[in-house]
Each structure stands twice: as C-alpha cells, then as structure tokens.
C-alpha cells in the first residue's frame, strides 16, 4: 500500500471515537457524514471490528421514518446524510429494513422547485427574463432538507445511493433519470457546476471545482454526454488549490474511468478530507463511489 494512502487510513483509525463514529475533526463529537466517508475509505482496508462499531452507531441515527439525522446532537433528518446511509448499506450489501426505509424516504423527498407554483414562476421567468429562466424547474432533484430547494450536492448523493440501490429496490430508475436531467440542465456555461444554479438574476454563475466533482460523481451513468464537463474537470483539477476539490474531482474522474494522481503529503487533521483523499487515491476503495463496481 502506498505511504500516502496508509497515512490517511492510519489517521482515520487513530481518530475513531469511542462510540464508533468520527467527528469532523479528531476529538470532536461523531457526525454521520465523516463517519460514512471514513467507513467507505476503510472498507476492506481495516479490521471488521472498526466498521462493526461504526455500523452500530449509524443504525441508531436512523429515524423511524427511514431518514438519517446528521449526528448524535441533531434531532431532525437530512437528505444528504440519508443518501449516505443508503449508500453505506449498498456498499456493505446490507439490504435490510434500514435500507428499505431509507430508500423509501429518499424517493418521497424532492426539492420544492417542482411544485406547481414554482414551475409557474419558472415559466414566467423564462418568458420575461433576457436569456431565459435561471434554472430548469421541470425535473426533481433533492434538497439538503425537506421543504427546501434542490441543490447539486444532495442531488448527486441521492443519485449515487439510489443507483446503487436499484438492483434491490424496484422503481427507482425514473426518478434517478429525472434527477440526472436536472443536474445536466444546471451545467454552467463554463462546463462545470455551481453549487446550485447556473445563473442568478439572469447572470451566468461560475462553476466550482468541488461541486463539479460531485455532479460528475452523480452523473456517472451519463458518461457519454459529459465530454466537455470532463475536460473542464481535468482543467479544474490541475488548477485548484483546494484539497477538498481535488479529492472530489479525483473521485469523479475515477468514476468516469480515468486515473488522476494521488494526493501526497500528510493528512491535515480534517477527517472528512482524509477519508475522501483515501477514497480518491489510486489504491483506495475504488468501489466506494463507482457505480460500475470499480471497473474503471
């Protein structure tokens, strides 16, 4: 195993909390998001006892309605963490009641931009605003929280989770395809993705490297339509100073059958980042985000 990968996995192992989860930073309380990414990074790379303890915690954070909450201290659900809960079940081939309830909750959740009033406003905007509407509101994505608008990251996370779940839960294909259409419609003029819109008040918005990576992870099944976006992702990867952005772009390019270089140097004390860098590493858990099982 490469040193840079080993250091990240060792850092994750050393920073696991006694409750089995991980905080965003060592010594902080456990949250679902860093716990999920750490579990994906350590999958098949560590003793099973480490992941068993994490599993026990993850299951306690699922709410009766099937959603997951972001952490021990938060009472309500989050869409992105529910997607990660489903994703973990798929990655560990646990297609149980927790899995089924989680998928059902995701399928019952959508951004508010798809209700009739928002669509009406979108149509008016399309007719009255030079250059058309800021966003296509005809396709449903996923919000961070129920009752709010769809954004790129939770939509991508939900697409990945549901595509992984599709073989074990009937009827997800149409909804996932619709969400992919939403992501495709939100591609910025420069070829990448902003965190939400491609325009605001009629003015083009720039893409960001980390959200471009996330969108491309969500759009793995649409590889044939992404030539320009993948080219832009390569440019962003070469130019960004953000380690988080490099990690997401690398994970995305791996998912699209490319082989980006590994992150070097030491992990910097950020658990979520260390986990993503480990997953992005050429020797990392290739299957963590690859819908084709890591054939890339």
């Amino acid at each position: 195993m490469a040193d840079s990968l080993r250091r990240r996995l060792d850092f994750l192992l050393a920073s696991q909390n006694p409750d089995g989860g991980w905080g965003y930073f060592p010594g902080k309380r456990s949250w679902l998001e860093p716990t999920a990414y750490a579990m994906l990074a350590l999958h098949r790379q560590s003793e099973s006892a480490v992941l068993d303890r994490a599993w026990s915690l993850i299951e306690t954070w699922q709410l009766p309605d099937g959603s997951w909450r972001p952490g021990a201290d938060v009472a309500g659900p989050g869409t992105w963490v529910t997607a990660l809960g489903v994703h973990l079940h798929c990655a560990h081939a646990r297609f149980d009641g927790h899995f089924t309830r989680g998928v059902a909750w995701l399928l019952g959740t959508q951004g508010t931009e798809c209700n009739w009033l928002a669509r009406l406003v979108g149509r008016v905007q399309a007719m009255t605003q030079p250059g058309g509407a800021d966003n296509d509101v005809s396709h449903r994505g996923w919000p961070w929280l129920r009752g709010t608008t769809s954004w790129v990251e939770p939509t991508s996370q939900a697409i990945v989770a549901l595509r992984m779940a599709a073989a074990h839960y009937a009827g997800v294909e149409a909804r996932v395809t619709e969400a992919e259409e939403q992501l495709l419609s939100r591609k910025c003029r420069d070829g990448g993705w902003n965190y939400g819109s491609r325009k605001a008040l009629g003015i083009d918005l720039p893409s960001y490297p980390e959200t471009t990576g996330l969108a491309l992870v969500g759009l793995q099944a649409r590889n044939g339509e992404l030539g320009e976006a993948l080219a832009h992702a390569r440019v962003l990867l070469a130019g960004t100073h953000s380690r988080l952005a490099r990690a997401w772009l690398s994970i995305a390019l791996k998912a699209h059958r490319e082989q980006p270089p590994a992150a070097e140097g030491e992990p910097d004390g950020d658990i979520l980042l260390a986990a993503l860098e480990a997953i992005a590493h050429p020797g990392g858990n290739r299957a963590a985000f690859c819908l084709n099982g890591g054939a890339g």
């Binding site: 608008t149 003015i203 980390e210």
Partner: protein
C-alpha cells in the same frame, strides 16, 4: 400561503429572492422607533489596508464604550468566496488587526470563526484570502463554524435551531463584515454576516432553510438571538453592483463600528448612498436597534461627509438615499 412561503417555494435557485424583494414593498412601512436611548456608532477614516488598523479598531471600540476585558471573543469575518479581481471578503489586514486589538484590550481569548454559505472548503478559502499564511497560528485560533459541534436553541423563528458550540460559548461576537451591496437583501453588512453562524453540517451548503424563513426575517432573528455582539465593518474597499460576489470593488475608505448592529448597518447604508429605512431587514430589526439617524450618535467622522454612492443593480435602485 403567505409571502415568505411563496418566496421559499421558488428558492434561491430560481431567483426568488428577487421576487420576494419586489413583492415586499419595503417603502410601505418605515422602521420603528427602536429601543430607548441612542446608539453610538464610530466612523473612522482608513485610506488603505496599510493604515494603523489596530489603533483605529482600539479607537473605535473606545468611542463606542466597548468593554472587552476578560471576555471570550469570537471574530466573525465575511469569508464567502475568492476572486482576485474583486473584494468579496473581509480583508485579512482587518481581521489580523482585530485579533491584535482585541487581545490588547484584555480579552480572555480571541478566536476567529466562519461558516461560509456555499463553499465547503473553509480552510481552502481562508488560504486563498491570505488568512492562513498572514495570521500567525491561524489554524490554532480558527474554527470552521460549519463543522463545529452544535447545541440547540429554542424559538429561533419559531422553531428549534442548532448553533456551533464556539458561537454559544463566546461572550462577545464581533461581526467583522464587508461593506457590500447584496442582490437579494440590498446590502450585506454586520447583521447579514451572522448567517455564517449557522452550521452547514446541520442545514447544508447553502443554508437554504434561512432563505425559506425569509432572508430579511432570518437576519433579524439571528440578531435578536445573538445580542452579545459588536460590529466592525470593513469599508476600506467594499463592493458595489451585483454583490455580494460578482460586484466591483468600491473604495469607501472607512471602518464603521458599534454595539448596535442595526445602527452600524444603517450608518454604512448612508455612507453607501442607500436609504436604510427602505432596507427590509433593517426595518424588521428596528425593535432591537436604531435605524433612524436621529437615534444614532455618530462619533468620529460624519457619515454624510464620507458618503460615496455604491452602484445598485436595477432591482434595488429604489433604495437610493435622497
């Protein structure tokens, strides 16, 4: 269905902030009289970031009667996005000077905390904005408020809301804001800057829940919730036009300070050529702070003498101060 719900339905992604602003008709009702008494606001000239900003911040704190001794201070910059062509963030020189100034005023501790609204790599942003390498031991004094541990507070906009431990543990929160126009709120100053106290780990990136509460109402609620605050607005180089990200740099050459954030923001608006009485969030906050000129005790420079009109996008031209 009320107007807030209507605006929320469309959300930021569909540009509904604009629609909500247009629907709100802020000129319908002016701000209330505010709390009893007057609020001091210090306006100090600062021609550039090379000025002695530590001395100016100490002077401003003294002019406003701020007591810092023994307090745990949290400096909350406006760190949003980086673009070398414009002036989005609180300049690092102001944050570095504030760190030194508040330490010298006897604070028990001074930390810097920020939870950017839509960029997840907070430390990466801090590096681009030169915070990381300019401020000594930056990582030792910085907390990413988006990913801090949290505790709930009840009755924030009528519901339970979570906030970072670092915020809840501070005796004094200093909103070290940037003087900018804002394409949904009209202006973003010390009060709007408190959006960064809301944790992304609970509410996402962006904190879309605040948009559904309504941007003006959420600003007012944050400022009603956190009363242990002081404002320090970086108006040395602000932003005009399509702020808070895509506007143009605008030199105003001022630092504006005070304990009444509504009074500070109202003063900033007057310097920017914006009528604060027409800014909806200030109207909503007029029960916790002063908006009317007669209720603000201007110390240091006269805002009228320093007025320099910030360009406003078409949707907000009605905010122009007469």
């Amino acid at each position: 269905m009320n107007r807030r719900k209507f605006a929320g339905l469309v959300g930021v992604a569909a540009g509904a902030g604009y629609l909500s602003m247009r629907a709100s008709k802020p000129e319908d009702k002016g701000p209330g009289a505010g709390p009893p008494g007057k609020s001091p606001v210090a306006v100090l000239k600062a021609a550039s970031y090379d000025d002695d900003l530590v001395a100016k911040i100490r002077d401003g704190a003294a002019l406003c009667g701020l007591h810092v001794h023994g307090k745990r201070v949290l400096l909350k910059p406006n760190l949003v996005e980086f673009d070398s062509a414009t002036a989005i963030n609180t300049d690092v020189a102001v944050i570095a000077a504030a760190l030194t100034a508040f330490r010298s005023l006897g604070a028990a501790s001074v930390r810097i905390g920020e939870g950017p609204g839509h960029r997840r790599d907070t430390l990466g942003l801090a590096e681009q904005a030169r915070y990381l390498h300019t401020i000594p031991d930056f990582e030792g004094v910085f907390t990413d408020l988006n990913r801090d541990d949290v505790r709930p507070l009840d009755n924030f906009a009528g519901e339970r809301f979570y906030f970072p431990e670092t915020v809840l543990g501070a005796d004094l929160i200093v909103s070290v804001a940037k003087m900018k126009t804002h394409h949904w709120a009209g202006a973003t100053l010390s009060m709007k800057n408190l959006f960064g106290l809301v944790p992304g780990a609970v509410y996402g990136w962006p904190k879309n829940k605040l948009h559904y509460i309504g941007i003006p109402r959420a600003i007012a609620e944050l400022n009603r919730t956190f009363r242990n605050t002081f404002a320090l607005v970086d108006g040395i180089v602000g932003m005009e036009g399509n702020g808070p990200i895509q506007g143009r740099p605008k030199h105003a050459g001022v630092l504006v300070m005070g304990q009444d954030l509504a009074a500070v923001d109202s003063t900033c608006c007057r310097i920017m050529g914006i009528d604060p009485a027409r800014v909806e969030y200030l109207r909503l906050a007029s029960n916790i702070g002063h908006v009317h000129e007669a209720s603000i005790e201007q110390r240091g420079e006269s805002p009228a003498a320093l007025r320099t009109n910030f360009d406003l996008i078409a949707q907000f031209r009605n905010l122009r101060l007469g």
